[in-house]
């Protein structure tokens, strides 16, 4: 059973993004975490790194598969969730909440308009 968070936006590469007072918090979504299985390792670029929308800035390793983590918007990473680096399995348990991965200060907040809302995303992955 895949959970969708109605309050966030989605990328084609299965990340979610949410605008929190001008900072974009992101993670991988429930569909992604459930298809990957047990997540054992997360690696992301550190705070201060400029990332480009749709480009990889890290990777997530499940038991046997490694996947890119792509930036939902272009901008500068302002915070990486230290908890997911320590205990990556948090992403499996709570991908939209405690399992957030990074916060990005966007170059252009209107870039979020190009992402899918939950209903568009549901049809996209179907």
């Amino acid at each position: 059973m895949i959970t969708f968070n109605e309050d966030v936006l989605y990328t084609k590469s299965n990340e979610w993004a949410e605008n929190l007072n001008g900072v974009v918090r992101m993670g991988i979504d429930d569909y992604s975490q459930s298809s990957l299985g047990d997540i054992v390792h997360v690696e992301v670029a550190g705070s201060g790194t400029h990332v480009a929308a749709g480009k990889s800035f890290g990777s997530v390793e499940a038991t046997k598969s490694v996947s890119d983590i792509n930036a939902p918007v272009s901008g500068v990473i302002v915070r990486v969730n230290p908890e997911v680096l320590k205990s990556p399995a948090i992403i499996n348990i709570d991908p939209f909440g405690e399992g957030w991965i990074a916060e990005i200060s966007p170059d252009d907040p209107s870039e979020l308009d190009g992402l899918m809302d939950a209903s568009a995303y549901k049809s996209f992955i179907r």
């Binding site: 298809s35 054992v40 690696e43 990889s56 390793e61 499940a62 046997k64 598969s65 490694v66």
Partner: protein, 194 residues
């Protein structure tokens, strides 16, 4: 689908080729073998996984791959397969394992799926393992087929090894590794794993 019968047996070169094929933008199915080598997963600690004294003493190189999973021993009796295609999260480890199982069945090998790691077992022992790497919208799924590997090396070179067996002794009609590669190529199907 570009079907490649890669005859190079140099592990570093083969893994680099696989990586380069991922940026070609075409679907690929490749069969290939490595000369004796240990291939370790993306984030593995080599010292914890490989008996490096044994590998050095025997001139067996250790090569890192981009995908996840554990360390595996390769030799010319092990056949590797690679699928490269546009990423879709529905293309799970299980999806490809089932394609391989159907192919093995056509060759006369009955197997079953081990659900925790999506390994393929015959007679309760592992004959095939696989791993994935997703990058820039492209999925690489690759795996091993233990056909006629020198299994005695595995516990000497790997610090952690599971229970494995070869495919060759399970065949009703014996074939060489080259004949097995041809049989896999002729019987592989994709898009329909059911």
């Amino acid at each position: 689908m570009l079907i490649i019968n890669n005859t190079s047996t140099d592990p570093s070169r083969n893994l680099l080729l696989e990586e380069n094929l991922c940026s070609l933008g075409v679907e690929v199915f490749m069969l290939w073998r490595n000369s004796p080598s240990v291939i370790v997963g993306r984030f593995q600690d080599i010292a914890a996984e490989v008996n490096t004294e044994f590998s050095e003493a025997n001139g067996i190189p250790i090569v890192r791959r981009n995908s996840g999973g554990g360390a595996v021993y390769h030799d010319l009796g092990n056949v590797n397969y690679s699928f490269i295609q546009r990423d879709d999260r529905r293309l799970t480890l299980e999806h490809f394992a089932r394609i391989i199982m159907v192919t093995l069945e056509a060759i006369g090998i009955n197997s079953r799926l081990e659900f925790r790691h999506n390994d393929i077992l015959a007679d309760g022992l592992k004959i095939s393992g696989s791993a994935q790497y997703r990058h820039n919208g492209i999925l690489l799924h690759h795996g091993t087929l233990l056909f006629d590997t020198d299994l005695s090396v595995i516990p000497k070179i790997l610090r952690r090894s599971g229970r494995v067996t070869n495919i060759r002794p399970l065949l009703k009609h014996d074939m060489t590794v080259d004949e097995f590669i041809s049989a896999v190529r002729d019987n592989i199907t994709w898009g329909d794993s059911k």
